[in-house]
């Protein structure tokens, strides 16, 4: 073997090594940074599709390039928390579920937006329906996110079915007893050759069942905790075995009895889809479905069997007690680690602006499917009313709506929701009765809350009332 051979081989080896390193490097290297850009991480709800269509307009207007990613609920949650743990963020703007806003802020993962909002005349905070800001976007007297899609809950009923069965169309101010009575009259009847179910519920654990059930606990005035969030001193002693809670769960179980049995496993959209198949008399659900049930399937645009054949009415109330509507939705927040806060704010402001929200509502690419406005002005917009004639009813439902009451954003909400959702599911499945289930929930809540140092609660409280939110809005206007 000659020396030159060795050299040549070594040369080849070195070259290969460099090539390999370069290949690895290209796998690891982030894409080239844009001069002005913003990274947005959202959940794959309908607003996301509408919003995405408009992104070129944002870039044209501001010169900011947008990297936009929509994820499923679980994936989004996993990605967000992972990034919080490592104290990095791969996004400048993130979607925050109503329940997450508190813990994200307390842990310093997202930053209050007060300073951005205050000096910004374009933001026009006064145009927001205050209930949406209160339910979705405030925490400890700060504006921590901005709503991008807010949902209330209302009843959808089949006009033709009511007519054929001679049932009067319901009106605001009706009671859950009436609701139940109507369902009883529909359930099992055959209408136009279709065997009707009274209603449909969401039974799937853990999140969907809690989402739908919590409208009942809100209506029946069954709070989760002794004093939270509207209290001078917070007290998280669980109230899950209260009489009202038992009534609410019993009612929910009754509603399940008037539903297709498979709804034990229904998630959000299963319930909506089922209604659009025309064998459900009436159900209450997030206002997003006022639009979505018109389509036969999601993002397809084909009309469903119930299109034009359903009315919308506010949720019933508990006797003479005023109705409490559960309000939920998605908002945009800014991670504390956001690399481009200015651009992020630009984006948040643009995406939540009346102009953009209106354009989202009018977007028809996959059929009209976004009417979940938070801005007062849009509910009376004539262009939007043409597409979404129910907007006045939807607006009315927001009055007095309170998401923080229905699903209190306690710092370990997800854990509590998991416990509750499981037990609710067990009640529906007949694996547990109402009393036993709620005692179990109360015990597990107590354990979880004390295990998480929330019982007794020694950290600072904040009397989070609707008035406090209104004061905040006034201070930021």
């Amino acid at each position: 073997m000659t020396h030159s051979n060795v050299t040549r081989r070594r040369f080849l080896g070195t070259t290969a090594g460099f090539a390999g390193a370069a290949a690895l490097g290209s796998l690891a290297a982030p894409a080239i940074a844009q001069e002005r850009s913003v990274r947005v991480l959202t959940v794959g709800d309908p607003f996301q599709y509408s919003l995405r269509e408009l992104l070129p307009e944002f870039t044209a207007k501001t010169g900011i390039k947008v990297e936009f990613e929509g994820l499923g609920y679980d994936a989004l949650q996993a990605r967000l928390i992972s990034s919080f743990v490592s104290k990095t963020s791969d996004a400048d703007v993130i979607n925050v579920d109503q329940m997450w806003a508190g813990q994200y802020t307390d842990n310093g993962w997202i930053q209050p937006l007060n300073d951005f909002a205050k000096g910004d005349s374009d933001f026009n905070i006064n145009d927001f329906v205050p209930e949406t800001l209160h339910s979705i976007s405030t925490w400890r007297g700060n504006l921590v996110t901005v709503p991008v899609a807010s949902y209330s809950q209302g009843v959808m009923y089949r006009k033709s079915v009511f007519e054929k069965l001679g049932i009067d169309e319901p009106a605001a101010g009706w009671t859950w007893d009436q609701y139940k009575e109507i369902l009883g009259r529909i359930h099992g009847q055959e209408v136009d050759g279709v065997k009707m179910n009274g209603t449909v519920v969401c039974g799937a654990q853990p999140v969907p069942v809690v989402h739908m059930f919590s409208q009942l606990s809100a209506s029946l005035n069954a709070p989760w905790f002794k004093a939270f969030p509207g209290a001078e001193t917070w007290d998280f002693t669980p109230q899950m075995n209260s009489e009202n809670m038992k009534r609410a769960v019993s009612l929910y179980k009754e509603l399940y009895g008037l539903s297709p049995q498979e709804s034990i496993n229904y998630t959000w959209f299963d319930a909506g889809t089922r209604f659009s198949q025309a064998d459900i008399g009436m159900f209450y659900w997030w206002s997003a479905y006022f639009t979505l049930v018109n389509a036969d399937g999601y993002m397809t645009g084909a009309p469903s069997k119930v299109k034009g054949d359903f009315g919308i009415v506010p949720c019933p109330q508990d006797g003479t007690n005023p109705s409490r509507v559960s309000l939920g939705g998605w908002s945009l927040g800014m991670p504390s680690t956001a690399g481009r806060p200015e651009e992020a704010w630009e984006f948040i402001k643009w995406a939540t602006s009346a102009e953009t929200q209106k354009a989202m509502g009018l977007n028809d690419k996959f059929g009209h499917m976004f009417s979940d406005f938070s801005r007062e002005s849009l509910f009376a917009d004539s262009d939007l009313l043409e597409v979404y004639p129910f907007l006045p009813q939807a607006r009315a439902m927001l009055n007095g709506a309170d998401g923080k009451l229905a699903r209190p954003p306690a710092p370990i909400y997800t854990t509590l929701e998991g416990i509750f959702g499981l037990e609710l599911n067990k009640v529906l499945a007949g694996q547990s009765d109402v009393d036993a289930a709620l005692e179990q929930v109360n015990t597990l809540y107590t354990n979880a809350l004390s295990g998480n140092f929330m019982l007794p609660y020694v950290q600072p409280s904040f009397n989070d009332t609707f008035d406090a939110t209104k004061a905040l809005i006034a201070s930021l206007a």
Partner: protein
């Protein structure tokens, strides 16, 4: 079974085979049909089969807005990189385990095997933290690296069985012929275990291609892979069955094509060296 192939026996066997194929392949076809059928027929029973195929779901997922086209490319990058990163680690180890005797070898083989049994969910958050700490979070490399915990052990087991079957005298002949270690590796051993390299690469590719757990936390928008894409159609407000099916069909095709094209290596590869052919 020679000598027993009477007509009845044949008919019975073919009937059984038809049943087996229907059972295992039918659902796949049913799912592929979902991707091209009008949504109105998706949940109609008895099944509607005379529909006009609609490629709309493929258009939506792959062209406009085409969320999944980029993800398909990402999947390809991740899966191919996973193979390329895998082989330099697994082939030498498999070679050593096949050719040398040393203490604790059995332990080592079982240790590799045990890695395939770790609960992947448990590792997601630690991996995210680890990758973030080394500045790799959201990159292809982070996914490719952690996937090696699944692919390298499997590859080593597979490759070892292939190398076991190359008579060591062939290597000795090459040594006596004057070949260097590299020459023996690249001109003698590797060509002889080519089927093994193909099978190993196939499995590494498919493992990486199909993995959903790691990209769930380790990918970013730029690097998200197809399984993440299919997951994103399953949202709170709706499930877009057509889109899911279309994206899933695109996700299913490469592994299927690979396994069908290289079919003859599959049977050979899956004996894990436990049977000598």
């Amino acid at each position: 079974m020679i000598g027993q192939n009477t007509a009845t026996r044949k008919i019975t066997l073919y009937a059984l085979l038809a049943l087996v194929m229907l059972f295992f392949i039918g659902p796949i076809i049913w799912f592929i049909l979902l991707s091209i059928r009008p949504p109105s027929t998706a949940f109609t029973m008895p099944p509607v089969l005379n529909f006009t195929p609609d490629l709309g779901a493929f258009t939506r997922t792959m062209v406009d807005p085409g969320d999944n086209s980029g993800q398909a490319v990402n999947s390809l990058i991740v899966a191919i990189s996973a193979v390329l990163l895998n082989l330099p680690f697994s082939v030498p180890a498999a070679y050593a385990l096949s050719r040398f005797k040393f203490r604790r070898k059995k332990f080592l083989m079982l240790w590799y095997l045990s890695l395939l049994m770790a609960p992947p969910v448990a590792f997601l958050i630690p991996y995210f933290i680890l990758m973030t700490n080394v500045g790799l979070s959201g990159t292809y490399l982070s996914m490719v690296l952690v996937m090696q915990t699944l692919t390298i052990p499997f590859s080593i087991w597979l490759m070892k069985s292939f190398i076991d079957e190359v008579p060591r005298e062939i290597e000795e002949a090459a040594r006596i012929d004057g070949a260097s270690g590299w020459t023996i590796m690249f001109r003698v051993v590797l060509p002889l275990v080519m089927p093994g390299l193909i099978v190993t690469s196939m499995f590494a590719f498919v493992f990486a291609w199909n993995n959903a757990a790691f990209p769930l936390v380790l990918s970013s928008q730029r690097t998200a892979t197809l399984p993440i894409g299919t997951l994103s159609y399953f949202t709170n407000t709706g499930v877009t069955w057509g889109n899911i099916a279309a994206a899933a069909v695109v996700a299913m095709l490469p592994p299927m094509i690979i396994f069908l094209v290289f079919d003859r290596f599959v049977v050979r590869g899956l004996t894990f060296g436990a049977v000598k052919g």
